[in-house]
């Protein structure tokens, strides 16, 4: 096997015809040298809700992103469509830029447009999203509206694996307002919570997972009073059926 060393050496000796370190060396301008650019679309919730007082809603909560590890452009969309009234009770879109700030968390900033039935609002958004210890997916956002009102929203989600396909997920969403915005029915303090339990089954990979579940919505304090004054309820239980979709 000495011959190998020798012929490798001989090989090097015959190289003078090649400018071994000249400008002839290829520069890596292949895609390998570029940051991976990725995209994805997910609907965490895409469901039909039926409330304890016979209200029917179509609800979605999804997002789409495009970008790299370092910078992503994200579009978040949430909505609640009252089927009988044929009206959007909630219609919220956010356009965000997102960048990592730690191993497990991203900071995000952008704008939010609320365009349900009734008055519209535009907000500036600052937030954090990521994975907390013990596998809690958390998302916290601070909003400042074009009316100058400030509010905050906190989301947490946890998944319990009954099997590797049958998954129970628990979600909690809470909103707090730091000032009152009477026009859109928001009082100061804890505004509302939404808690949900959904039992899903991964039917096609992780891209289509139908689920069944229950959701509890509640309004608090002045916000609850405003809702009652408008003739609305302050607490609802829903049975939900839907699917988690990602592609």
């Amino acid at each position: 096997m000495k011959t190998l060393t020798l012929s490798a050496f001989a090989l090097a000796l015959t190289l003078p015809s090649l400018p071994a370190l000249g400008s002839d060396m290829p520069q890596d301008d292949t895609r390998r040298k570029d940051a991976l650019t990725l995209w994805g679309v997910q609907f965490e919730e895409l469901e039909y809700r039926y409330s304890d007082d016979d209200e029917e809603l179509g609800v979605w909560n999804g997002d789409a992103f495009y970008g790299t590890d370092e910078l992503k452009f994200r579009w978040l969309t949430k909505g609640e469509y009252a089927i009988e009234e044929q009206a959007y009770e909630k219609l919220e879109n956010q356009l965000l830029l997102q960048t990592p700030v730690s191993d497990f968390f991203d900071a995000k900033a952008g704008v939010r447009f609320d365009t349900p039935e009734g008055p519209d609002r535009t907000y500036g958004v600052l937030g954090l999203t990521g994975l907390a210890p013990h596998w809690f997916e958390v998302d916290a956002s601070l909003y400042v509206s074009d009316e100058g009102d400030t509010s905050a929203e906190f989301d947490a989600e946890y998944e319990l694996l009954f099997t590797n396909h049958l998954i129970l997920s628990a979600a909690l969403d809470a909103t707090v307002a730091f000032s009152e915005d009477r026009e859109i029915g928001v009082g100061k303090g804890l505004v509302s919570t939404e808690a949900g339990l959904r039992l899903s089954y991964d039917l096609i990979d992780r891209s289509f997972s139908p689920y069944l579940g229950v959701v509890h919505e509640r309004k608090y304090g002045d916000t609850a009073d405003f809702a009652e004054a408008e003739g609305g309820g302050t607490e609802d239980w829903f049975a939900v059926i839907g699917a988690r979709v990602s592609f």
Binding site: T5, S7, A8, L11, S17, L18, A20, D103, L131
Partner: protein, 588 residues
């Protein structure tokens, strides 16, 4: 085709030039039928895997590669020592082969053994662009055999590789269906008690790491020579014959544990280089490694070649039989291993105390092993290892974590190339001998032994949650090339700070794995580095030019665990690197 011309001139100058073999390869879209699913992919000469190329040491080969795809391609000759322009890595060795064009590779064959070739463009390799290389030596083989077969493994996934990458980036556990469930929690409680189980779950949850994170990409069908388990590739033999099996792991992501129930295997070659024969019942083949074994079935029965993936999420199966159609019993998959805290001992996040990651893994430092001469059958310095290991465990001990109560792996097997207490340590299914890196000894030293001129530390780093992989915390896109001087002997120190095993592959030059055997250290082209361990290899820098250096897990390489290596100098440069290096001896 200026490059090809120059290569031609180079070939002409070669003193070792003997016969010249000419080969034609086309790169094509093909259909791949695994028996479980049929999938469009990329192949050579109309099939995946491509042909087995048979070369002879000393000849100069001319290989015309015609790209019938509608995208650029390339072929990398994995493990072959050749001029860098012939190495086939777009952007590093050459410009690649544009759609519709033919590129002529020409290089002398200066080695013998089992190797393989594959595309180095995008994800063509996981999509099927791979084939085998067998090189007959100039002289006699130091072992006898009556017949031989190539046994080339892969992990064919129903998803196109681009989609696999995207899914992993969106959801790193997308393909992991071996995660611990509520049922496992209760099973652990009844086995280990409530508090121990709870503490175990809290410790892992605190790190946001999964014990089940052994294989990123599950859901594949294991293939042997392109045949799925149901299609059962069969090699024929006559009882009493010695059969040489040339195992090649061409997987994108899967390590395989290989056994042939009823037969002992004598390992005679690793990564194309002969090793002192070692007889085993089972061995683990890392991604891109090759192992040649000799088996001698004495009875006229069918034997199953069973290749279980390391994470037990899939398997490949083939048969050795005296007649076509015979089948041996096919074993079931064993229970999936789980990582332990020992596999996390290289992680930075673990060090809440004053010890650093490096300190924590120093216990596993294999340089310590060099002091005590290692017996051929592996680690004998158990006392030293145990002491070091307990040091490292105290080092990484942090608030609220009591390793005494951690749920550790069962079996108690140990291997110096795994963290002490690792959940990944393989155990032979029949309770017999499982090959360790520590068993490998070169048949003949390839290089004269000398002190390394310097040491380069390469920390293997990553973030599972973001599915980013890097070296020293830097992804390829942001990295400067690694510069080596022609004539150096560099000692590489790999520190695995992740919870995954990385098969590190340096192109163009040999990787001499330090198993503590001095000049008898085995010579390889892929070095598998287990979680929580530090492994050393040395390289004689004897090949000028630019080379690729990367983790051979396709999706790790693509997401950043990749470097360009530039070898500066060389005899033609009038550079005296070799002399200078000799002067400053070993300290660097």
């Amino acid at each position: 085709m200026k490059k090809a011309l120059m290569a031609g001139a180079l070939g002409f100058l070669m003193p070792a030039m003997a016969a010249a073999g000419e080969y034609n390869i086309t790169v094509d879209r093909v259909m791949i039928d695994t028996g479980d699913f049929v999938k469009e992919g990329i192949g050579y000469n109309g099939a995946s895997p491509g042909p087995v190329l048979r070369f002879k040491e000393g000849e100069t080969v001319t290989i015309n590669v015609t790209n019938n795809l509608d995208e650029p391609t390339s072929i990398h000759w994995h493990g072959l020592i050749l001029p860098f322009e012939q190495d086939g890595v777009p952007g590093i060795s050459f410009d690649g082969i544009p759609a519709g064009e033919t590129f002529t590779y020409e290089f002398p064959i200066v080695q013998s053994g089992t190797y393989w070739f594959h595309s180095h463009s995008g994800f063509q390799e996981p999509n099927g662009a791979y084939g085998a290389i067998v090189i007959e030596p100039e002289g006699r083989e130091p072992f006898r055999y009556d017949r031989e077969y190539v046994v080339q493994l892969t992990d064919k996934h129903p998803h196109d590789a681009n989609r696999v990458m995207r899914n992993l980036k969106m959801m790193p556990d997308y393909y992991n269906r071996q995660q611990q469930t509520v049922g496992d929690f209760f099973a652990d409680i009844s086995k280990h008690g409530f508090m121990t189980t709870l503490q175990d779950r809290l410790a892992w949850g605190d790190m946001r790491m999964m014990k089940a994170d052994v294989e990123d990409v599950q859901g594949f069908t294991g293939l042997i020579n392109g045949k799925g388990p149901e299609q059962n590739w069969t090699g024929l033999f006559e009882p009493g014959e010695r059969i040489r099996l040339r195992f090649i792991n061409s997987s994108a992501m899967a390590y395989f544990d290989i056994r042939i129930p009823g037969l002992e295997m004598t390992v005679v070659q690793a990564d194309g280089n002969n090793v002192q024969p070692v007889t085993v019942d089972e061995f683990r083949i890392g991604v891109a490694e090759t192992y040649d074994v000799i088996v001698r079935p004495k009875t006229a029965e069918a034997y199953t070649i069973f290749a279980e993936s390391m994470g037990r999420s899939g398997y490949a199966r083939a048969t050795l039989a005296p007649e076509k159609g015979m089948e041996g019993p096919v074993p079931g998959l064993r229970e999936a291993p789980l990582l332990t805290m020992a596999d996390m001992s290289g992680m930075h996040g673990m060090d809440h105390g004053d010890t650093t990651g490096a300190d924590a893994s120093a216990g596993m430092d294999h340089s310590d092993m060099n002091q005590g001469e290692m017996a051929p059958d592996g680690m004998k310095d158990d006392a030293v290892m145990a002491a070091d290991a307990s040091d490292s465990m105290t080092g990484m001990d942090h608030s609220g974590m009591d390793h005494g109560t951690m749920i550790m792996s069962e079996g108690g097997a140990s291997d110096p190339f795994y963290a002490e207490g690792s959940g990944l340590v393989p155990v032979a299914a029949n309770g017999g001998k499982f090959l360790s890196y520590a068993d490998l000894r070169a048949q003949k030293p390839l290089y004269e032994e000398r002190e390394p001129t310097r040491e380069i530390e390469l920390r293997l780093t990553g973030n599972m949650e973001r599915y980013t992989w890097s070296i020293n915390g830097v992804k390829y896109e942001d990295a400067e090339p690694l510069k080596l001087q022609y004539g150096e002997r560099v000692r590489f120190k790999f520190v695995n700070e992740t919870m995954m095993t990385h098969p590190m592959h340096l192109h163009g030059m040999w990787s001499i794995l330090d198993v503590g055997a001095g000049e008898w250290n085995p010579v390889k082209h892929v070095i598998s580095v287990q979680p929580g361990t530090t492994v050393y290899m040395e390289t004689e820098v004897d090949a000028p030019g630019q080379w690729a250096f990367h983790c051979h897990l396709s999706y790790h390489a693509a997401s950043g665990m990749f470097r360009k290596v530039v070898v500066e100098g060389g005899p033609d440069q009038g550079n005296t690197a070799r002399a200078e290096v000799a002067k400053d001896g070993g300290d660097a």
